[in-house]
Subunit: 243 residues, 2 copies
DNA sequence: ATCCGAGATATTGGATCCACTTAAAACATT
DNA sequence: AATGTTTTAAGTGGATCCAATATCTCGGAT
């Protein structure tokens, strides 16, 4: 009936939406890791609800691309191959660039101030060696940035693409190697926004995102190969190809 | 239990997926028109199934942006304002342009032949005055075109954007005014693909889509104003603003 | 020893039931 | 007649039950 610690449940939210958010959060945070099986009954019991709202949530997560289901078999948290990750990032690149172009035309002084604040925050956190904090601040920068585009459709798509790779964000932690430069690039983007120079914003976002994704992809490919190695060892097969 | 005329239902497809496709088709075709209310129980009865698979389908359609639901109230087929339509088209523009750029690098001779065939088909249909047929052929051209990009992510997003405005396609019927030119533009895009000139493909797609959307938007705006006029008349209010 | 098939088990898919929310309609009150 | 209130109807949200299907296990035949 009620989810512990969430107070008055039935006041205005449906159970289904709460379960959905809970599951989504679990996936993004990594509590439900990519490849892990998701059993509706288990989730339902854990949350103290029936299977019904869980099933509806599963459908939503499925159409968002966060889980995959096979009829009568199972639902698993979706795993991304390096190729898929690359595709997602390249589309994000294009869309964020376009968002930047739009933002340059309509961003307000207030929003720019907020972007500057986030950049300063990131800088401070970097000085303290809090790399995770830096990443979080940078994420908020990007989110705010594309929301300034004024296109709800664009935001929706970007949020989706974002959430699909969020569970892999630990792979893109640069641990001091790139953060310095990334923050400088953010400042440059802000300058271009102030100048209302859409072309320049777009180009800068392109370069910026491209550089950010490169190490992530490299690591993902390494992980993939390592895992394939394991599997080969276990199964006694040398190259089973992708499942 | 069984949907009439669909044969062996439980062999490999789930009822839910059949209901989903049915509903989606109804929305795209206009049988369920934008703004129309969708009552789960009614749909269930019509299709001869229980409400369960209908509810799951509704969740999917909702996250795809084809319907909107208000908790405990109702589900309605989503209506697009001119602004939303404009946003969707501008994102489509960007993505299709990018898809073209990718396609230029990897499209095969066979795919190009198929594109040419579709263009010829469109031309024939135009000569016969079958404007609807022309539109359909052109749609298939676009679909095949962006599928040649090789990016599943990109295709998924474009399919979604496509489906969101599909119910409004009658508004973009040019009835002979533009089809001639559109077909010529398709041929030019094909030429650029043959030359593997990604930049040119992207530019051509931009221009092409931009020209196609303009009349649609104009008509949508006119419809919007007319409807507002009706409402003002009915309610005796002069300008109630957007709901 | 290996392969195959018949139960047993786990889990999803679908139907039905009930409770709760919202709106609409009927009614009463001023 | 207009307005506020109660009753009624319609429809969603959630729980539970049953059926269908896939996987697993174990015993038997070759």
């Amino acid at each position: 009936m009620s989810i512990e610690g969430l107070g008055k449940v039935n006041s205005y939210r449906t159970l289904q939406s709460l379960v959905y958010e809970n599951m989504r959060d679990a996936i993004l945070s990594g509590r439900l890791a990519p490849g892990q099986r998701v059993v509706a009954a288990k989730i339902a019991e854990e949350m103290g609800v029936s299977r019904m709202p869980v099933r509806e949530s599963l459908r939503r997560l499925e159409t968002e691309g966060l889980i995959t289901t096979v009829p009568h078999k199972e639902a698993v948290v979706r795993r991304l191959s390096a190729k898929e990750m690359e595709d997602i990032y390249s589309v994000r690149l294009v869309l964020e660039g376009y968002g930047g172009r739009l933002a340059a035309r309509r961003i307000t002084a207030k929003e720019i101030a907020k972007l500057e604040e986030l950049t300063n925050q990131a800088e401070e956190l970097l000085a303290q060696g809090d790399y995770w904090g830096v990443q979080e601040a940078n994420e908020r920068f990007h989110k705010l940035f594309f929301e300034a585009s004024g296109s709800e459709v664009l935001c929706e798509l970007l949020r989706n693409l974002w959430s699909r790779c969020y569970a892999y964000r630990h792979l893109s932690a640069a641990m001091g190697k790139r953060e310095r430069i990334a923050i400088e690039e953010h400042r440059e983007i802000i300058r271009a926004l102030v100048d209302k120079d859409g072309d320049r914003v777009e180009r800068l976002v392109w370069e910026h995102t491209e550089k950010a994704v490169e190490p992530l992809l490299r690591r993902l490919k390494i992980e993939e190969q390592r895992e394939e190695g394991y599997r080969a060892q276990e199964e006694g097969v040398d190259h089973p190809g992708h499942p």
